[in-house]
Amino acid sequence: MEAGIVSYGAYVPRYRITPAEIGRVWGIDGAGMGNNLNVLRKSVPSPDEDTITISTEALRLALARGGIDPQTIGALYVGSESHPYAVKPTATVVAQAVGATPFLTAADFEFACKAGTAAIQTCLGLVGAGMIRYGVAIGSDTSQGAPGDALEYSASAGGAAFVLGREHVIAQVHHTLSYTTDTPDFWRREGQRYPSHGGRFTGEPAYFRHVTECAQKIMEVAGTEAKSYAHVVFHQPNGKFPQRVGKTLGFSEAQMRYGLVTPYIGNTYSGAALIGLANVLDHAGPNERILVVGYGSGAGSDAFDLVTTDELVTFPRTIGRPVQQFLDRGQEIPYSIYAKFRGKIHMGEN
């Protein structure tokens, strides 16, 4: 495959809340919950942020770094499970906000946490076939867990944008494949405010089976093994699942180091694996092999076998904020402010 990543950018909102603070409100050991999940804190969007604004910030950074004329974008897809509108595309607002309209195709993707990686695969197809010059794939979310639910300790906000193309590729995609089944581990019905999930059922038959099978298959197809990779990124609904699946597959802590961002910002859903990949690209050198395995409930995994190129050496990674800054910085807020920002307080009918 000739196509690959030409540029990238990530964005995470400024506010943070700790599991200890959430647990304090619900009368349970939040710090212990955070330890179990390996989540130190999670990001919280401002009242004026949503999937559209996060996607736009991430893409503006990607376009600035790549020096890409937005008018050369032929396709723009936004993967999310928290699109602000049920009907009216996120992608059209983002395309307009970066100046990519009107001659491009745009659509919203939804596949729980893997809608962003599905968008990357679609763009690779269009770019690889020569139908478009550049394709944009964004994974972005402002997801919520119901108050008091286990999800509330990890569900956060953030996103990353990737520009796919065939010129000046910084990371070439050698292989991609997916593993998909009908597995009802996590869902949100139309009109419902918060998602539902199968509790522990979200582990073995869902996340672990799909990620493991998908990772093993792509390594078989690529003729690689765990030690072939300098970096590995898994979908990270918490900080623990990716560590466990990585260990099972034979990856070391060092290989997983940069790809694991959830402990510092929480689970950004469609953004999670993509922000992990952005952090890897922030730190990677040329000619390093990267394995990315996303996961979306419902359920499916998308895997990518990438190799960075010499273009990465001159790529201006210093433009804008590196992912590390989002991991290190942030303003902690109490649960009361979090509840206000996330619309959890009933304000009466108006």
Partner: protein, 164 residues
């Protein structure tokens, strides 16, 4: 505000699209079709070219709003500022991602894409520019090393974590 009016102003609100006089090079925002600076206004007609502001600037003056405008009650107290852009035009905009007492005249800011207001729960959502302090000009928060996460890992608790 009507849907049509907001939609017509999208190029300005989304992308800071202004205009520039090709005679005297002065930049205007919102865009003008005639240059009031040139001695012969008529000469500038048809010579104003579209110009996109970079979004970089600094706080020229500001006020802290405690009595919120409709739709801004969740953000009180918030800062409304006049921002002097590097290209020249003075813009009015909200300063976000900052505590009100951290704002000062001369603070370097950058335009951000944010939600401006919603037409109720079922109506259109309006987006546009606001400003935030440039991150490189902010004092860094307490750094947290990457090692913390591996230390935090413990055997699985009774309540199983969930995926999405």
């Amino acid at each position: 505000m009507s849907i049509a009016r907001f939609w017509r102003e999208t190029p300005q609100r989304y992308n800071l699209g202004g205009s520039k006089c090709s005679d005297c090079s002065i930049v205007y925002f919102p865009p003008r079709s005639v240059c009031p600076n040139c001695s012969s206004h008529r000469r500038s007609i048809g010579r104003m070219v579209p110009f996109q502001l970079s979004g970089d600037g600094e706080v020229f003056s500001y006020t802290v709003v405690h009595e919120a405008a409709e739709g801004f009650d969740m953000q009180v107290p918030y800062v409304l500022a006049l921002v002097k852009t590097v290209e020249g035009p003075l813009l009015t905009g909200q300063i976000v991602d900052v505590e009100a007492d951290e704002v000062r005249i001369g603070l370097p800011v950058r335009a951000m894409f944010r939600k401006l207001r919603e037409e109720g729960k079922a109506g259109v959502i309006h987006y546009g520019y606001k400003f935030a302090p440039r991150e490189e000009d902010r004092a860094p928060a307490e750094p947290r090393g990457q090692r913390d996460a591996s230390r935090a890992a413990t055997p699985e608790g009774r309540r199983g974590p969930t995926t999405a």
